[in-house]
Chain length 293, copies 6
């Protein structure tokens, strides 16, 4: 995964010591990682993320992994010959689709991540929003009915706290326990939002959103125009100026949600780089865009 | 589900009081329920099982639910067009099949049971043997290689104890964490055996195997020939005499495993009767066959 | 005690399941039972109360039993040839009378109940308001001096909480630790009031007053005129209308005291019916009158 | 009670400092005091015992008070006109007598001591062997049936430990919970033996038996012949030599029981001297006879 | 040390009993003793202080000993030939002087006291303000720069609480952890002030300042003019009237600091009398001057 | 201190990931570092050791620092003009010398290290063997009386465990609490031996002895002849062959003491290299000689 460069003992010690102030400052803090995109598909990147997450846990960061799993759901829908219905261009989640979503996220993606962490030597617990009724959601009622798609109404972090206290890493699928008219049914929820809501509810220090872009670029064409840091108050302006646009808008909105909920910092990082989590957390320079209150 | 008979208040109180000595004696004890068969398919029976399990938890029994899910796996394999390879008449679990097993058990069956318990008003935690590396298994090496099928080598009950201590009901899928040559892979395991091994490891008072038969019948043709109680030492004889035969053999072997592992009593009960669990646990007469050391 | 009717297993299971929602909702809640009247004299009723109380404790209700013991005090006063002095028709509690009160309540009635509970299989602790200075009282100074009769000024629930935490059932005699001019002397207190004050101080869910009447009747002559439920705000009206009158007035006042002190519900129930406590708590219909805020 | 001598501040400090090594060595140790005899009748002595017991508790000695109450029982029997039946000169405890014993010990004597301790500023808990089934006894079957008189078979110290942990002083009446043929009935037990059995069961450092004699005298006529210390192994000899005789025999046997049960030291002390407990525990010279293993 | 007078057992018991109400009222309270002056030089007085402190701890007072060590510092400066620089008559604490201060206080005086307490049979922990960053100070910036002399800005009592909880006696040297421009350097602080600040931060019941005077005298010439008690509000007046003057001013200011910080009582006591601490705490009369809010 | 090489983010991440397996395996383990030699004199090395120790603590290693301080003692003896007496070439530790040893070690060296750790952002507690009577020693009685020099007889690790549990780093001076004829006196002890004894008593994973040599060299002239690993059983042979000789003998004996006391591994490492601790613990290659059972 990472290029094995010939590091001397001196270099290795220097690297550890450079990481020390970050390690000291994050000790005992909670960090929520939204795991997704290429980092969840490419085997090398996947292995690196697992190492990063274990490193984080080892130095005392209470690390929570939240994941979705779009491509795997897509593949399974295709495999089972399920035809999708679309409402104004958006897929409608009927019961049959929800069954696949739940099965793939909670049964496949979630347990596979859990297996990888345990194989790498640390206990993990594969959970979803249904377990301990951790995430309670209500069906979204927008202009178009999208079916069994929910928005989170309540987060009960007691299960997560207990898992973290035990030293294991919680891995959380973005499936919620339905309330209201859908009481007791599973609801599909957006994984980015789930991560942000969990981060806010648990009082996380940081939310790390793994994406397939570099971060917020002032000029999308120019990789050197990365905005390394922005305040909550500047985000509206960036949207108005068209700098935050298209696919970046929901990412930024998700970070805003976290910041407004009390999370100290929300990072949009480039999951295509191996060890993006470690580099963002433990080096002076970092990568990606950091948003703060 | 249950026939609503016109019970007077006097009757109701009498029923509660008759249950009292059983409630007193099971308080704080652990009971493992292997949930399966018709009781998992028929909606009415399903609802009754959930009520029974919640009743058990409410009166202080530390209740663990272990489940398999043969029919749902079968259905999904068919749906995805997966052709099965057979070895001497037994299905070979290749990687693709295992993927379906894991997905259906951990993602569908497990979370559906969890949803039902929570809808009925009690916290539940849907887990499998991978979570917290609760069940470690090694590939079975018999005469025929059956692929990713494991036998349990190690049970770590710490996660279950923590869940029980928190007041939630653990629901456990029969998928294990592979060790040895299959280190880090999921392995398919027999759910009856998983329940027996968990019962032994956690020092359970009882193992309740839900089946689709009445119990051990002296004469399979005669429903009145039910053996209500037998000792561990009599089981070999019952096999030799052909009384325990065919499909009953693995059930009895599973109970033997539990008894030899220290479980006080193992019950083979008829899951086709509504509230079979309650009746077995809280009435003088009980139903099914009770095996004891 | 209860008429042994021929209940089928189906009936028994139905009765348990009907009780389940009540069991679920009372779990971990505190219920104070004022035990008295016929239920304390008739041996069959007595045995039924003990069973009810143990059932309550078994399903997780933190149950406290408070008792007086008028008839037994009366009998002992007679036996020891103690002549009573009356003030405006009310007995004056001189030191010698108080000695008998204390002896009979704390030494006889209290320990006899404790014995019965333990014989039925659960730990109990026989206490009075003196122990751990649980109930501190000051002599009532009304128009007539009634001697060593007190009104509770302070309730220290720490002993009760510790007993409940240990799983035992506290049985409490209505004798208090005197303060003020009677510092260090025992004072006689009203058991109904003691139960209400304890219920308020410990934040009880319910106060159950066992009486020798059906509850509040709209027409005392008509047993079918039972008021099953009334709000705190309606009670004044019921008094004015003469519906709550005579002996019912102090019972209702006692419930009011509890409700005003934060107890959710106060029940006046008919202790002459066997298992009145179970029926009131665990059936839809209930018996007696429930008062709520 | 104690003669108020004119002590200078220097004297007072000297007295405290002389007590210091004893205070240091008894800290956290458990001491069982059998309270009885004159010290329980004379008001001045009584007040001094209460002060001593509170002093002991204050300097960290886990102090348990066990008491009987012969004279008060006698008086109440007389008062209620109960005629006693005698068997070979020993009183037969029939049910009616037992009722009086229980009532007087648990209701009168026990709560009066509790009141005194609390008035002197420390929490106390008045208990008997029935509470929490602390003392389980079986009817003594000797040559003569003496009725409801028991010998202790089992001591459950958990209640005592909890009371001591809470900082309160347990006060224990010598009434036990009957088992065997007397299951659930109260049984009268010897208070000295109860104290010795409790001391052994709880692993006490010391048993202090308060008596109305000076201790073991080599020559009963000569108060200067007090044996200040004897070993367990010498006791048989002292009996043979007639030095331990008559009423001293059961006292010594009781101490032997304690020593054989693991208690470090058993003291026979003169309860007729004010502050005998303090003097025995906290001065170099002490009073009475100390028996050790 | 103390004159061994011939105390009878009666006298000894009387002395203990007279101390009892004080023992009862101080149990579990925290008392900070500023140890200094003659009581730290004279061997007999020193031994008596150690006994007093152990007695205090034994009867449940959470006792903290704070000390300076002027004379020993002086001696070592002389021994090492260090010449002192003076600023307007006050010694300037340069780095070399500070090194000696730290070494003598934390290494010599502190550990010697610790040794004495342990030799007398109780665990002690020798600490200074640097340990666990218990005392954080900033260099005093008055008219004259006095060098490495600090005033306390922050007291972290967690270490002290942990030591007290473990049953050991904390012994604290008046050296602080420097902050601001002296970050990470040791700073010399006034021991009286350190004791007062610790007393306030930990919510002490009492501060006992050991001095070489009798207390506040109305007329310094007249030993019989001792003011035994004064309120915080009277102190300004006493200063104006010249009754509190010269060396008494900083002592009184230090007590004021404690009282204003929430300490209940601050005592100026005469450390030249053996067992001054015991006499002040456990006798009716006491010695010295008690200041209260 | 360390050469600041231009490490890329990729390099940095690689270094952290290479350290991960070591971090995982040492988590929660106890490591005792004997700090001494050049690493305690050279300012750069000193700073690096502090960083290393904080890094160790941050990644969950329970780290204990034990130190002596020969050169500083020497300097202070000279400064105070104390003339040394020698016995067969070894310095005799008289009371005056011991006073200096105690003062310098516990007051100067110990608190200076404590200051450095706290300045670098982690709590530390400066202690010696006197505190909590952690190290009890008896005067060595060899051929020559060396005065107040002790050998450790008993290690009480409770203080160290409490400090480690609180998250602080204990820093321990090699001064012990004297017993036997020197009861209550301080005794000088060898810091290497103190570290080994503490490591054994606390069940440490590792003892790291910082020295001024490379480790055990097969040929002292040849730095490439370093023995990287040796078993306990080979050590006698290495001594016989003269490979372990002179100053290396006591170092190896000290390691043997630790290994025989249950410590898993003892390392002789070269404290002259910056970050020797980190390199030894967290890189594949390591430095120095590792001795194991």
């Amino acid at each position: 995964m990472i290029k094995e460069t010939a590091l001397s003992n001196n270099d290795r010690a220097a690297a550890l010591i450079q990481a020390l102030p970050y390690i000291q400052s994050f000790k005992g803090k909670t960090v929520v990682v939204k795991y997704g995109g290429n980092a969840m598909i490419n085997e090398e990147l996947k292995a690196a993320v697992i190492q990063d997450v274990i490193f984080m846990a080892c130095v005392g960061i209470r690390t929570i992994l939240v994941h979705g799993g779009g491509p795997e759901i897509e593949a399974m829908l295709k495999k089972t010959g399920k035809e999708s219905r679309f409402v104004n261009g958006l897929r409608y989640t009927d019961e049959e689709t929800m069954e696949v979503v739940q099965m793939v996220l909670c049964g496949k993606v979630n347990k596979d991540i859990t297996l990888l962490i345990e194989q790498a030597g640390r206990k993990a617990m594969g959970l979803c929003g249904i377990d301990g009724a951790m995430l309670k959601a209500r069906r979204i009622r927008g202009e178009d009915d999208l079916g069994l798609v929910g928005e989170i109404e309540e987060v009960d972090t007691s299960v997560l706290q207990a898992v973290l206290d035990s030293g294991a890493i919680p891995v959380v699928s973005s499936v919620a326990y339905g309330t209201g008219e859908d009481e007791g049914k599973p609801l599909n929820i957006n994984a980015d939002i789930a991560a942000a809501k969990i981060a806010a509810a648990i009082g996380a220090e940081k939310l790390l959103l793994m994406t397939d872009v570099q971060g917020i670029l002032r000029n999308v064409q120019d990789p050197d125009s990365l905005i390394k840091k922005a305040r909550r108050s500047e985000l509206e302006g960036l949207k108005k100026d068209g700098i935050v646009s298209k696919g970046m808008i929901p990412k930024v909105d998700c970070c805003t949600l976290a910041l407004d909920g009390g999370v100290k910092k929300a990072h949009i990082i480039d999951g295509r780089l191996p060890h993006a989590l470690l580099i963002e957390l433990f080096t002076d320079e970092g990568i990606g865009t950091m948003l703060e209150r």
